[in-house]
Amino acid sequence: MHKEFLMGNAAIARGAMAAGLNRVAGYTGTPSTEVLETAARCRQDALYVEWSVNEKAALELGAGAAYCAARTMVTMKQVGLNVASDPLMSLAYIGVKGGMVILVADDPGPISSQTEQDTRHFASFSKLPCFDPSSVQEAYDMIQDAFAYSEQYRTPVLFRPTTRVCHGYASIEVKDPEECEVHAPEGFVRDPSKWVIFPRLSYQAHLSIEKRNTELSGVFSEYAHNLVIPETAPDCRRGIATHGISYTYTMEALSGRQAPRVMKVSTPFPFPEQAALRFLEGLDEVLCIEELDPVIERELTYLCGKHHLPTRILGKLTGHVRAAGENSCASAAADIAAFMGWEAPAGTETAPPPPLPVRPPVLCAGCPHRASFFAVKEAMKGKKSVFCGDIGCYTLGNAMPLDMVDTCLCMGAGVNITQGIGRIEPDTHCFAFVGDSTFFASAITGAVNAVYNQADMTLVVFDNSTTAMTGHQPHPGTGRTMMGEVVEKVSIEAVLRGVGVTAVETADPLQLQEAVECVRRVDAQPGVKAIIFKSPCAVLIKSGKPVSIDPAKCTQCKRCIRSLGCPGLVLRDGRVAIEQSLCTGCGLCAQVCPFTAIGGDDHAE
């Protein structure tokens, strides 16, 4: 063993590799992304790593590899599991041969997600064992246990960290290379009675799954990471049940105090009933400090009913813990103080500060999406239009002054939502904006649907040749794989033409006038049509020389600022100025300026 300073996600990848990982597939999504990236960066010859086109593809590939007795990991964020839920539910019945861990990162807050859904529910819904680590060290240790249980019980297992564990760093104990397992998959052994799902097989599997889960509940009651910490306060008949990062908040709040009994639940499903009964013994009241849904609270309430225990179970369901949002050291300390009858933690008593500037996330200076949005906005000015957005950096097109995102639901939804609006409002110009990675992940079916059902709409693909939002992962259109191979790029234009979209134009959004004309031309055609706005992500290319403002020509009309909202355009002592450290020289503002006061290299200073 040796010490390393690792991010939680890196620890998960390294732990999986220490358990003899053979293959990993996933789809990028905060806060899960760095797991797969770490595996790719540290990988040795025996490990195959890929960004699959979406979570469903990743999970199905994982199943195939696990059928071959390979140790496999599939990575995604919580909403990704919705996409992969079809194979997940069936695979739970079929089972696996090699250890298979499905890593699903939850996002309390939510900080970078559409929902606050709780993967622990997916575990009980799909009847799959679930692991919930509370720290970076525990993530490293428990992922190895997850592989062992998976292989022993021939079932995929869920591994569910949350954002603060995924993105926290800690100096942890890591195995030396010679301590790590090496695993050689035996390959696929044909057995249709095992690998082909049929109603009869599912019935049999259902019986054995229920039996196994009852057994696992007992096994997990002895699992070292399901802790019951005895009370240090004398005659204390209160307890706290918690999990994940909230366990660490709880322990911070209790440190240096005479503490109540604490239970940490690291395997929310199958719930460790015997361990929980030991925890509940003799307690009058239990406070459940959980993030997302009250899973432990419901389990304990159920156990008290089942065993006629007089213990009162408190938490989100009883209003003792906030129902939504993430917990913190402060919230846990306040909840515990109220529960224990301790004096509330003292707040800070300083004078309120002057109004603080608000810094909502914005599209970067030089971002080509800004130009694409602006071109469509200009072209559709005065026309009844609807702009359906999607998931990616370009969701930020909703911010003022662009204000160009009317809807956003989930990956790939915009292309279908706009069709739905068009059916009710035939006189509306219907647009859907989708990024290149999202297009491949889940907008192609929507395009086929539009063609088949004779929709009247324009699909605008923002092709910046990367998956920018989550940190620039490659995708089918980039011509690079996670194994470092250079491959044929999948052409978005060819895909669209292939599914029957006849009017497809590709344009450079940074050539504003041509882009606006392109939108007008394409929009005027009937049926399903598409525009591919192609321009690389500003973060990935070398910036050009910042533009400059000719003070003699600038009338301070501020049209550039009011139309574009680019962080590179600022007011300095009331005058429009270029923020040199941010401007990439994209030239969009120069094309918007009515007085040609903004220019590049050849511009009069």
Binding site: H167, S328, A330, T348, P354, C393
Partner: protein, 192 residues
């Protein structure tokens, strides 16, 4: 002995590397270390922070308000935003150069950072104010703000190591071509 640090600023100012260098130095000295920082959408021009803890007996990388021994503020308003985390008698090092939010530009407001600095000095009289922008110009690179701030923070005496130890970590982790520039920034001290 525990040290709670909070580094805050605006996305793109080099806060993550600052945090890594402190953590790396602690690792080298065998001091347990934990950190947590903003990742994802909030990085795009948003407020970013890094919590950093050194010492024994820690459960989580975050700490509650009123617990920071040191706040390194890369931007005046961001330092003020995080000031409730400072513990009584804690130190603050702040870059006086403000960064305009896009929203301020749109609304035509003229945030200067000065109101933030006077609030800061009123509440933390011994706060170390440092014009990072001027320092970068003097050193000759806009990219060394984080090293300037880090050097000044270490000189506050809260952290259990010297500028030289941080410099060694920097040499181990950063590309060689930046060593000389970064060293100068780490040792930069305002004259006069």
């Amino acid at each position: 002995m525990q040290n709670n640090l909070l580094i805050c600023g605006v996305g793109g100012q080099g806060i993550v590397l600052t945090s890594k260098l402190i953590a790396g130095t602690a690792m080298h000295r065998d001091i347990p270390v934990m950190s947590a920082e903003t990742i994802g959408m909030a990085q795009k021009g948003g407020s970013v922070f890094s919590f950093l803890r050194l010492g024994e007996g820690m459960y989580c990388p975050m700490f509650p308000e009123g617990s920071a021994d040191l706040i390194i503020g890369f931007e005046p308003a961001e330092a003020v935003r995080m000031l409730p985390y400072l513990k009584k008698g804690g130190k603050v090092v702040v870059n006086t150069h403000p960064i305009m939010p896009v929203t301020a530009t749109l609304k035509g407001s003229d945030y200067t950072g000065r109101e933030m600095l006077s609030y800061l000095t009123e509440h933390v009289p011994d706060a170390v104010l440092l014009d990072g922008d001027a320092a970068c110009r003097e050193i000759g690179s806009p990219k060394v703000l984080n090293m300037i701030m880090l050097g000044a923070a270490v000189r506050c005496g809260v952290l259990p190591f010297s500028v030289e130890e941080i410099e060694e970590t920097m040499r181990r982790t950063v590309k060689e071509q930046f060593h000389a520039l970064n060293s100068r920034a780490l040792h930069y001290e305002k004259r006069g």
